[in-house]
């Protein structure tokens, strides 16, 4: 943008150019018309001149005759006046030998007039000298020349008149032509000017109109629309740029607000669903709560009874049962440690082994350093329950469950392996997607589905990668859950 021209300057440019154009054309038209009129005016001048010559000549001749007739001094004075006048008029005539018939005639008239004036002068002189015969003679000569002169002037007048008439008609037609051409010129220039002005103003207003359209769209809610920036270098582009800046900051502000809102709502949602899951779990267990409390107290009583009776195995079994139910009653709402979860698993395995007569061969390999890791409660028991129910229950022969706890980087991994029937890949994918959790949970004795376990872990640690389910190569299933270590949380 080499120059910044404001709209005012642009408009001024257009109007000044148009005005100059029209002005120039008008000047030209007026000039040519006045010229033509001047020419027409001048055409018959020569005729008027010749008429004057003829009239003066006539008056002079009359005065001469009167003077010669009466010797009146008045007439003589008149004669001299006319003579002077005549001489003046004659002196305007051509005196050169020129190849133009009219001019040549003028020369003849001029020379003949000189001859004539000589004759009249000598006639007057003779009259003064009272030389009758001489002034008679001179007068008759002068009279003859007078006739010739009048004839010549008349002829010249006619000839000049003819020429002038011809000129006049030509001039008339050229005047008509000039008028016609002027009209044509004016019309053309007006059309040109009109088209030009229209085009120019359109160029000026087009960005404005676009700006207005954009403003309209924005007013109707189309916040995505940008103001068109046409680099006209004038106020419009300045306005458009400013509006664009404004729109950008508005959009920024809206985006930020939206993000904040989204973040907030996501957090709320997260909390809600966590609570929801917890509620669900609680509900499941509340259903069973009456029984556990009653059962727990009853079992404690049963354990004492068994102890008193000396039935130690029974006492141990009942004791484990009591522990299992106590954990359920107590721990559901709170976080727990990995250690407590492991103890619950021990109790659960013991109960199962009593129930199924030691069919489950449970081994564990624990890294004691990480057993203090905090985690949500009721996570491991459902895994063991699944391993038993879906893995080794349908198995003929000895079922094996191996539980290992080890740390891997910032994670504490709890791996549950069984040598059961194994799990289908589709099922794994379904579980990972959280789809088929409910169908499983219906069959779970504790009622806690895999999706519940996974969701709770995810929310508790606020991470996605919390579980891995694999089909083992030899036989059975392998489930690993990842817990975040205290020190890295």
């Amino acid at each position: 943008m080499e120059k910044r021209k404001s709209i005012r300057i642009r408009l001024l440019e257009v109007y000044v150019v148009i005005m100059l154009l029209v002005f120039a054309i008008n000047i030209y038209i007026v000039h040519s018309q006045s010229q033509a009129i001047r020419q027409i005016d001048g055409v018959y001048n020569s005729n008027i001149q010749l008429n004057d010559i003829s009239t003066t000549l006539e008056k002079m001749q009359t005065s001469l005759y009167q003077y010669l007739n009466t010797k009146s001094s008045d007439e003589l004075e008149n004669y001299y006046l006319y003579e002077q006048d005549y001489r003046n008029r004659i002196s305007e005539l051509n005196e050169k030998t020129v190849n133009d018939q009219n001019l040549l005639m003028e020369k003849n008239i001029r020379n003949m007039s000189d001859t004539y004036l000589e004759k009249t002068a000598s006639a007057i002189e003779a009259k003064r000298g009272r030389n009758v015969s001489r002034y008679n003679e001179e007068y008759s000569k002068a009279k003859k020349l007078y006739d010739y002169l009048q004839s010549c002037v008349r002829s010249l007048n006619t000839s000049v008149f003819l020429e002038n008439s011809q000129n006049y008609s030509v001039l008339r037609s050229t005047l008509n032509y000039v008028v016609g051409f002027s009209m044509f010129l004016l019309t053309v220039s007006m059309l040109v000017a009109l088209v030009w002005i229209v085009m120019m103003t359109r160029t000026i207003t087009r960005p404005l109109i676009k700006l207005a359209e954009a403003a309209n769209t924005i007013a109707k809610g189309g916040l995505e629309v940008d103001f068109p920036i046409i680099d006209t270098g004038d106020e419009i582009s300045t306005v458009a740029k400013a509006c664009n800046k404004m729109m950008n900051s508005i959009r920024d502000y809206i985006r930020q607000t939206k993000e904040n809102y989204e973040r907030e709502s996501r957090m709320i949602e997260n909390e809600l669903s966590m609570k929801n899951d917890l509620k669900e779990a609680q509900l499941k267990y509340l259903q069973a709560q009456i029984n556990p409390h009653f059962l727990f107290n009853s079992l404690n009583a049963a354990a004492q009874l068994a102890m008193m009776e000396g039935a130690e195995n029974t006492c141990l079994f009942v004791q484990n049962m009591a522990d299992f139910f106590r954990y359920n009653v107590r721990k559901m709402e709170k976080d727990t440690t990995l250690k407590e979860e492991l103890e619950l698993v021990d109790s659960y395995i013991y109960i199962l082994n009593v129930r199924f007569a030691g069919e489950i061969h449970y081994t564990k390999q624990i890294d004691e350093r990480v057993t203090g890791t905090m985690m949500p409660s009721m996570i491991l028991q459902p895994l063991i329950e699944n391993a038993v129910n879906h893995g080794i229950r349908e198995l003929q022969g000895e079922g094996k469950i191996h539980l290992s706890v080890y740390s891997d980087g910032g994670m504490v991994c709890v791996k549950v392996e069984d040598n059961g029937v194994g799990i289908e890949q589709e099922v794994i994918e379904k579980i990972m997607r959280g789809e088929s959790a409910h169908s499983h949970s219906q069959r779970d004795s504790a009622g806690i589905g895999m999706d519940n376990v996974i969701n709770r872990l995810k929310r508790y640690y606020n991470m996605e990668h919390v579980i891995e389910i694999r089909r083992r190569e030899e036989r059975g299933t392998e489930v690993v859950i990842y817990l975040k270590r205290e020190d890295v949380r």
Binding site: V98, M112, S155, S159, V170, D231
Partner: protein, 340 residues
Amino acid sequence: MKSYKENWKKLIGIGVVALAALLVLIGIEIVYHEKVKKDAGVEKKDRTDYQYHVAIISENPTDSFWKKIYQGAKDAGKGDQILIENFGEKLSGEYSTEELMEMAIAARVDGIIVQVSDEEAVSAQIDKAEGQDIPVITIRSDAPGSKRVSFVSGNDYAIGEMYGNQINNIAQKKAEEEDRKIRVTVLLNSEEKNAAPNVIFTAISETTASIASKIELTSKVIDNTGMFESEENVRDLILDASYPDIIVCMSAVDTSSAIQCVVDYNKVGQTSIIGYYAQKDTLEGIQKGIVESSVLINPTEWGKTAEQGMNEYLKKRHISEYLTVSPELITADNIKRYTE
């Protein structure tokens, strides 16, 4: 956005082009206008100044033959700084030769070329002009008693010779065909005041002397004083038993009459015509073979010779008293030059 700036520049460009187109239009108009005015003669014509102003005067300045003489003189005068004016041509009234001369003298021309009509009256004017140091040259008809400086005439002897040679050619041919003397009649013009016809006739006789034994040369004076005489006279001649084998005419009227009679009375081929001048029927006659040939003195030659004489006199104050103009012969061979 470049397009906007380009648009703007384009628009400015269009404006400039339109402006230029209008200016060009105006320019064309001005040139055209000037041309129209020039063509119409409103603007001043090319005018040249001349050193001398010479009046050429005849009783009938608008006669076409006279105008040709004037034109010849005028054209010749251009190179010599002499402007020839056909005096009286533009005057509305009718004036006699002496009146026109009087005017020319009063108008103080530098010289006068005049065809004398009334010898006595014109002579007086010639003398008056001489008195005012205006040289006068007479043309075609003379005023021998006046103080004219020169007289331009046709070369009568040469004309006679031309006629004679033509007679020789035709007569010899006819004599061979017919075993008798060939009758030749020369029509003389009674109006001629000068000795010219006699000179011509003498020249004819002298030229045809070699075949004098074969021809019978007679002359007939045609009385042209009254009107319509010529045709009657020629008719009588043609209808005579011993009609002429060759008619020699010395005026345009006689030639026309002879042609008419020969055609009317079916004498084509029997009577040969040797005509005078190049009027339309004569030229047609030559083309059709009715007229053998025609003798003429070219009017432009008249004018040219007179102008040359005047030029010589104005510049050298000396001139021979008689100037002659050579005749030309029109035949079927060179007729194109005259018909065009």
